[in-house]
Symmetry: C2
Subunit: 210 residues, 2 copies
DNA sequence: ATAGCTCTGTAACTTTTGTTACTGCGCAGA
DNA sequence: TCTGCGCAGTAACAAAAGTTACAGAGCTAT
């Protein structure tokens, strides 16, 4: 575990902190598609991503979903952090986008390290910061972009996160993530294909523009 | 200034911190409609609201605007805080919703107090937290609500912030804040009036449901 | 009072998004 | 091989939101 921690966090945390994390943290691995954390869950620890990717979703009372953003290696989820520190229920759902490995750090340590390690304090602040800017971007796409642009952007983000231009995803899945209907997505994807921006296959999309 | 500080922040900050704020902070008053901070500005201090209200707007490259949320007494803007600590340009515009009084605290002190005062640290964390949840709410309204619901919600929020059911606002202004067109707003307002949820006057709307 | 302005109401139309319904393809399992 | 199922394509229609255009109401300054 210490080795993996070092690979992902070695350049921002000091040795002592890395050892503390290795001591108090619990290593978890989840398979693609697994729900790591759900809306309403009581959160008592926060994740430090080592490998893989996680997608963070929001849901309304009627059960409609919306993808907020992805987390990668070196990230943590500030919304979870916020739940932890505020001792409230989770506002979001976290689902493994790929097979993923991470360390869960218990809430008590989070606060303790905040006073003891400057690098940890910075990490926490930077997490809040990057999560705020991701949320801003999400708001931008919702407020200022049409569905066709949102779909293209979604595909590009997903390609980046999965480090592959070939995405294994169904139209229905995209529709869920963007909170619209399958027919709308199929329509727009077809248009994007005609514009040569993507290539459509069964269960599978190739993104040209990155 | 110390008196006002005490009224707004006395119950969360210790005496010593209040005095430090009074010493290092600069008191500012702005009139309704004044732009306090604009997109692209370099931010070197953060505001602590004493009185009044501020609205926070986002803009895209084409100049379309969107209201993100309001700030009230006792609030600070975590997005600004984030800019401060990250030494980056402002991502948002802040406009006085009413005549407003606040204290600007220079960036150096923010960091210093973070290490010296637990109450300050908590305040900063809680600001991040509440701003994150405001942003989540904004995302919810954009993703899950139709324009008619958004308009009603907007009016209710504005009434709350201004502590009055009678809002002095034009249809055009609402359209700007919600990033839509004046005609759409007029149409929906008319419908809300027929549903007895509001009353329309010239330059002026009465909100019934709060 | 009247000219000029801002603000509101409304009609008519377009575009975008959402809905329903049906077709056919391709794969997996009996 | 046939059946059933999930997935993709598409048509036809409905609803929501955006656009253009114009008329009239009310305020202000001369």
């Amino acid at each position: 575990m210490l080795q993996e921690l070092n690979d992902a966090y070695g350049f921002i945390f000091e040795k002592e902190l890395l050892q503390e994390i290795a001591k108090s943290g619990v290593l978890k691995t989840v398979r693609e598609g697994e729900v790591i954390m759900d809306i309403g869950d009581y959160i008592t620890s926060m994740p430090l991503l080592l490998e893989g990717a996680i997608k963070i979703l929001r849901e309304d009372k009627e059960g409609s979903e919306l993808l907020l953003y992805f987390l990668e290696r070196g990230d943590t989820c500030a919304l979870t952090l916020s739940c932890c520190l505020g001792q409230t229920q989770s506002e979001i759902r976290a689902v493994a986008e790929r097979d993923t490995k991470f360390i869960m750090v218990p809430i008590g340590k989070i606060e303790e390290w905040t006073t003891r390690f400057k690098s940890w304090r910075n990490f926490v602040f930077e997490s809040y910061q990057s999560r705020l800017s991701e949320m801003l971007e999400t708001i931008d796409t919702l407020a200022f972009m049409n569905m066709d642009q949102r779909v293209l952007r979604y595909l590009q983000d997903k390609a980046k996160i999965n480090q592959s231009q070939e995405l294994q995803v169904t139209h229905q899945q995209i529709a869920y993530d963007l909170n619209t209907s399958r027919v709308v997505i199929s329509r727009l994807l077809k248009r994007l294909e005609m514009e040569k921006k993507i290539l459509l296959q069964r269960n599978f999309i190739v993104v040209h523009e990155l």
